[in-house]
């Protein structure tokens, strides 16, 4: 079924993800600076950061195992794969059938496991501390994410992301209570999974409060660049996923140049709005005490269960 043009589109989606992900992170940082009355770094700051890190040499701890060296590549590969199976520019993706929504959760989990293992590999107190906290967040966030996917899968009768997006995109414009609940749950899970305020603080230098940063403290050079890039890709993948599930308009089903001319600007527009909203949430929130995170993610889980119940009770065809 894959035609040459859909393969090309798949390739284009990959390139877009690699280029746009640092821009999205840069945009969120800009918005955060503006909202906090600070002058903002340029939009391309993240590129410069990556360029700098790729030039720097890698400093490895004496007791680093090969796992520590391999982890950045695995994590990066996971995030690249995740961003290519989320429909952003088209729903007709050759990689689409390779992994469905549940596999996507698995890909994120794989990256998480390797980040945590790498954090513990060196044996520093901070790495272990971060890994422990990351697992606490992860085991609470994943069920909620799965429940969100189950709800959308029930609506579209498929776990394939392309099918879900096609189905949701074709429905008439109306507010679906189940999707509203699922959307809020998804937003909360995204904040936790991407190490954003109020669950984690990506800009802190206080080792004792870190979650994600604590695990990667020992990385440097190109390893750190890959991990930072992977973090940006993860944010991008989650953002695109949210847009694809809850605001699917503008994602064409076909391939063609014209479709692309619609898809690219609409994606950029939606990401810009989403990034601004993320920055706004981060600006007005304080970080939760870490043992409040289970309550936060528990709420997300309950909302996602509610979404499914609402769908089954109110929206399912009799």
């Amino acid at each position: 079924m894959s035609t040459a043009s859909s393969v090309l589109l798949q390739f284009l989606e990959l390139i877009t993800a690699l280029i746009a992900a640092p821009l999205l992170t840069g945009w969120v940082n800009q918005c955060r600076a503006w909202l906090g009355n600070r002058s903002a770094p340029p939009l391309t700051q993240f590129y410069r950061q990556l360029a700098k890190l790729f030039e720097k040499e890698v400093v490895l701890a004496g007791n680093a195992s090969s796992l520590f060296r391999a982890a950045p590549y695995i994590i990066f590969a996971c995030m690249v794969l995740a961003s290519t199976i989320v429909p952003t520019l088209s729903t007709d993706l050759p990689f689409g059938p390779a992994a469905d929504a549940i596999a996507l959760v698995g890909i994120f989990a794989l990256a998480r496991v390797f980040t945590a293992l790498a954090g513990m590999d060196i044996g520093t107190a901070f790495g272990t501390l971060g890994a422990r906290r990351e697992m606490l967040i992860g085991f609470l966030a994943e069920p909620a994410l799965l429940m969100v996917f189950f709800t959308t899968s029930l609506i579209s009768q498929s776990t394939s992301l392309s099918t879900i997006v096609e189905t949701l995109g074709q429905r008439e414009f109306a507010i679906y209570p189940s999707l509203a609940f699922a959307g809020v749950a998804f937003t909360m899970v995204s904040l936790a999974e991407n190490a954003r305020i109020p669950v984690d603080n990506p800009t802190t230098h206080l080792e004792l409060t870190m979650i994600h940063e604590a695990m990667i403290l020992e990385y440097s050079g190109r390893h750190l660049a890959l991990i930072e890039w992977a973090a940006a890709l993860k944010l991008y993948a989650y953002s695109c996923l949210g847009l694809a599930l809850f605001f699917p308009w503008g994602i064409p089903e076909g391939t063609g140049i014209f479709n692309l001319l619609v898809a690219l600007p609409s994606l950029a527009f939606k990401l810009a709005i989403g990034g601004f909203l993320l920055a706004a949430i981060e600006t007005v929130s304080a970080k939760l005490r870490i043992f409040r995170a289970p309550e936060f993610l528990g709420t997300a889980f309950i909302l996602s269960v509610l979404a499914m119940l609402v769908h089954l009770l109110l929206e399912a065809p009799k």
Partner: protein
């Protein structure tokens, strides 16, 4: 005269500070310290002097804070094998002070904690740099140290070592956490990395010059230190600084307090990830310090206070600028206070975090703003006011809760009170000279004391000079000495990620206690 019905004869010391000194034997010292404790007093400072060149042995000085002011008890010690009774049984806060005294002078507390405090392995254990016959220019090879931290045993208990090098640009200190899960069972601090030998350096300086070094013991309290030093120097030389100078000194001190409180309030928001608070408060602090720089020649007002008076004057125009800036900043601070108070997420982080129980604070002789947030109502500006505070009617700010929220509240309220004081000082500033020359010290002057309520707590400077005006001994005491141990207790039972917030709410000086 007698104090607290004890069998010691105290003499009021010369100078502005309400300080009384007595010489005692071991029993007298112990009895007096116990009486201080029972009367609700506290330990202020503990330091030693080497008087062997003047035909005596060593002297141990213990300063206690009582209702009337400061009572200093001196215990003469023999030149060989000097020992004194362990005071940490009465004042637990004496522990580190006694260890520091031993590291510097070789005066041992009998039965006290034998571990070093300021001395790391980088100088030998039998080398006492503050002894008069010790050549402090000697160099020793750098060595790694094996320090006996207290270990916590148990199922799942492990340690997190943090520092002395941190991820941010902050002063060096080592924190050893014993934790189970996220819960902190014990915190042990290890300091001394910024020991600079300041007290040894003082011995090569003259009375008229020392104020500059005193102002650099802890940069964020430079005004408090400089004023305390000048009080002590003026007490030794019976110099009376002119009234205008005293009012200007109070103006500098309150400006220093405001600047530090503004910065701390911003950082407290930032440590709870509310970076909005940091950028707002830092903007206010920047405006504040720029005006200090423009009017007094230095953003932190270093070297603005000099023996005999002040180094810079305030014009009518400058006074108006200060007043209008106070109004503007007060308006903004009140808005920000409202935002902090109404922010549920921030209050959730502040409330009940890092509680320092008032009873424990009293036991540990905790002073300053941390003490006042735990019901320890010590504030020299209201209790033993020197001019011009005796005319300013400063309102003391105390809270009972002792948590981060209480320390934030004390900062907000003291900030507003200081703005009121500044406006009042500017409007009532007396005319006249701003500086008088420092007289020569008398034949044998004894001790000069300076005692100033800095923004963090009370700063003490004890000074002795020879008749030519050269410093014989200058001891600078930072309030952090007495508050750091309380942090070890405030963190207990809290979770690891709350430590930076609790630490910031204390915001103690490493440089001041290491000096």
């Amino acid at each position: 005269m007698k104090l607290l019905d004890q069998d010691l004869s105290f003499e009021a010391l010369n100078g502005a500070v309400a300080a009384y000194a007595a010489t005692a034997d071991e029993a007298g010292l112990l009895a007096f310290c116990s009486a201080v404790k029972e009367s609700g007093g506290r330990l202020v400072a503990l330091w030693g002097c080497d008087e062997r060149k003047r035909g005596q042995g060593f002297v141990l000085n213990v300063a206690c804070g009582i209702e009337k002011g400061m009572a200093i008890v001196s215990l003469p010690l023999p030149a060989t094998d000097p020992e004194y009774p362990d005071l940490s049984e009465i004042f637990p806060a004496a522990n580190r002070l006694q260890r520091a005294v031993f590291d510097l002078l070789g005066i041992r507390a009998r039965g006290g904690d034998p571990r070093p405090w300021l001395r790391h392995a980088n100088w030998p254990a039998d080398f006492f740099p503050l002894r008069r016959d010790c050549d402090a220019s000697q160099r020793f090879p750098a060595r790694n140290e094996d320090y006996a931290f207290v270990r916590v045993e148990g199922d799942g208990v492990h340690e997190i070592p943090v520092g002395p090098i941190h991820a941010g640009i902050i002063e060096p200190g080592h924190f050893r956490f014993s934790i189970v899960g996220e819960k902190v069972l014990r915190l042990e601090q290890r300091f001394g990395w910024t020991h600079k030998g300041i007290e040894k350096r003082f011995e090569q300086m003259s009375l008229a010059d020392g104020y500059r070094l005193a102002g650099r013991v802890s940069g964020d309290s430079t005004v408090a230190y400089a004023w305390a030093y000048c009080q002590a120097a003026e007490a030794l030389t019976s110099t009376q600084a002119p009234a205008r100078a005293l009012w200007l000194r109070a103006l500098f001190l309150e400006r220093e307090r405001v600047a530090n409180h503004l910065g701390d309030l911003g950082y407290l928001g930032n440590d709870a990830a509310l970076s909005f608070g940091l950028s707002q408060f830092m903007r206010l602090k920047e405006d504040w310090q720029r005006l200090s720089g423009a009017l007094f020649g230095h953003r932190l007002m270093m070297d603005a206070i000099v023996p005999g008076g002040v180094a810079c004057d305030l014009s009518r125009d400058g006074g108006e600028q200060i007043s209008s800036q106070c109004d503007a900043i007060e308006r903004e601070v009140l808005i920000l206070k409202n935002i902090y108070d109404e922010h549920a997420g921030l209050q959730d982080r502040f409330l009940t975090t890092g509680r320092l129980d008032p009873a424990l604070a009293a036991e540990l002789s905790v002073c300053g703003l941390v003490g006042r947030a735990s019901s320890q109502a010590w504030d020299l500006r209201t209790q033993n006011p020197v001019a011009p505070y005796d005319q300013l009617e400063t309102q003391i700010v105390t809270h009972r809760a002792g948590d981060v929220a209480a320390r934030v509240a004390v900062r907000f309220e003291e900030l507003i009170e200081s703005l009121r004081l500044i406006r009042r000082i500017v409007s009532q500033l007396p005319q006249g000279e701003r500086i008088l020359p420092l007289a020569a010290p008398g034949a044998d002057t004894g001790m000069g004391i300076g005692w100033v309520e800095g923004w963090r707590g009370d700063v003490l400077v004890a000074l002795a000079a020879d008749p030519e005006g050269n410093i014989r001994r200058c001891h600078c005491h930072d309030p952090s000495w007495l508050i750091w141990p309380a942090l070890e207790h405030a963190i207990m039972g809290n979770i690891v990620p709350d430590f930076p917030l609790i630490n910031k709410s204390f915001n103690l000086s490493y440089s001041g206690q290491d000096s």
